[in-house]
Assembly symmetry: C2
Homo-oligomer: 222 residues x 2
């Protein structure tokens, strides 16, 4: 299913999958920004992926793309690799949760299905990675997960942290230092309407976080 595909293609599909969890289609510019390439480069790649046999995405000029089932499968395969690797590096080599992402981002493209399988077994078929992100099953089904980000909470609400975005090492170190890790419980003390800052009670601490941060933390309301 994945023999011909280059690392670049795998990264495009993974990023498009993540973008289309939020909106129905992913735009050229949004893809370009996450990929760190010029928009013109994205256009070229999207045409190739749409022309692939089988097509990996559906491309409508000036209107962005949506993955086909085939494209979604490849994306989930890579996401499974990524998250299993993150957990493996954390558990087996003692990597911190702020260090695993970069390494996994390169390894995800080169490990075999055999290695994926051995890691999953060794870790006891885990369901979440070190950031609380759900690991797609062997059958490539993405377990249910919260899509409610912290910045959508109102004053007075209590919630439990389910997962956080994994790609900003500095942010991860900060979150760890204030106890905002998966399973941590918190209460919104105050919401400032002007700048959308939240004052949070986290254990004994009180923390004030801006929306750039709170958008990256997903919670379940208690």
């Amino acid at each position: 299913m994945r023999e011909n595909l280059t690392h670049a293609i795998e990264d495009y599909l993974k990023i498009i999958f993540e973008l289309t969890l939020e909106q129905p289609r992913a735009s050229t510019n949004a893809i370009a920004e996450r990929m760190g390439v010029a928009p013109a480069s994205v256009t070229g790649m999207l045409k190739r992926l749409a022309a692939n046999e089988p097509p990996l995405l559906e491309y409508r000029k000036h209107h962005g793309v949506e993955l086909t089932p085939a494209g979604r499968q490849v994306a989930l395969e890579i996401i499974r690799h990524h998250r299993l690797l993150e957990l493996f590096l954390h558990e087996t080599l003692g990597y911190g949760w702020d260090e695993v992402h970069g390494e996994a981002d390169r390894l995800e493209h080169v490990i075999s299905e055999e290695m994926e399988e051995r890691i999953a077994q060794r870790l006891g078929e885990p369901q979440v990675d070190p950031h609380g992100q759900p690991i797609p099953t062997r059958e490539l089904i993405l377990p249910p997960h919260s899509t409610l980000s912290l910045d959508q909470l109102q004053s007075g609400q209590s919630a439990r942290v389910e997962r956080v975005e994994d790609d900003d090492a500095d942010l991860l170190r900060y979150l760890y230092s204030v106890g905002l890790v998966p399973r941590a419980e918190l209460t919104v003390l105050e919401r400032s309407c002007f700048d959308d800052n939240l004052s949070l009670q986290v254990g004994a601490h009180v923390v004030v976080l801006g929306p750039r941060v709170t958008r990256q933390i997903y919670v379940e309301v208690l």
Copy 2:
């Protein structure tokens, strides 16, 4: 030291290093064969590597190449990655000695120095890989190792297996089945002059091996 270098370059340097353990220079055709590419492709790459700043090898038209100290360093770095990874896969994920090579051959190019270091620590600064091949030190010094291959032994000589080539999975499975693994002891019962076959006593077994096999096993005479 290795930031700009592509995976292809790393593979060329590794293979040239291995070829020049035997002879003083590596020929275009020998490199092409081990790389699995056309000789014309090798010529192009050798020019690039010789023109690199710093030069990674010295290239004399029609006379093959020799690595520079810079090229040798890169090769040893990759070989260290490869052998540490083989042992790590074997020890941590239960891979067989016939399964580790292919996986390590891809991973060797993408792991960070951080990961190299964590693996080495986790394994207790090991000196040899699952095939008995010496692992270059952190300072990129290749430990001393036997260059006497089994096919050079005479009738009546006894020896201990030090290491075997790692790239033929079928051969490795066969060698395992007859007990020809690192540290195994053997005696040459007979040497057939016509075809260079060796009859070996290995434990309770008697095994007859042709030179294509005995050339890939390196020993210390007892």
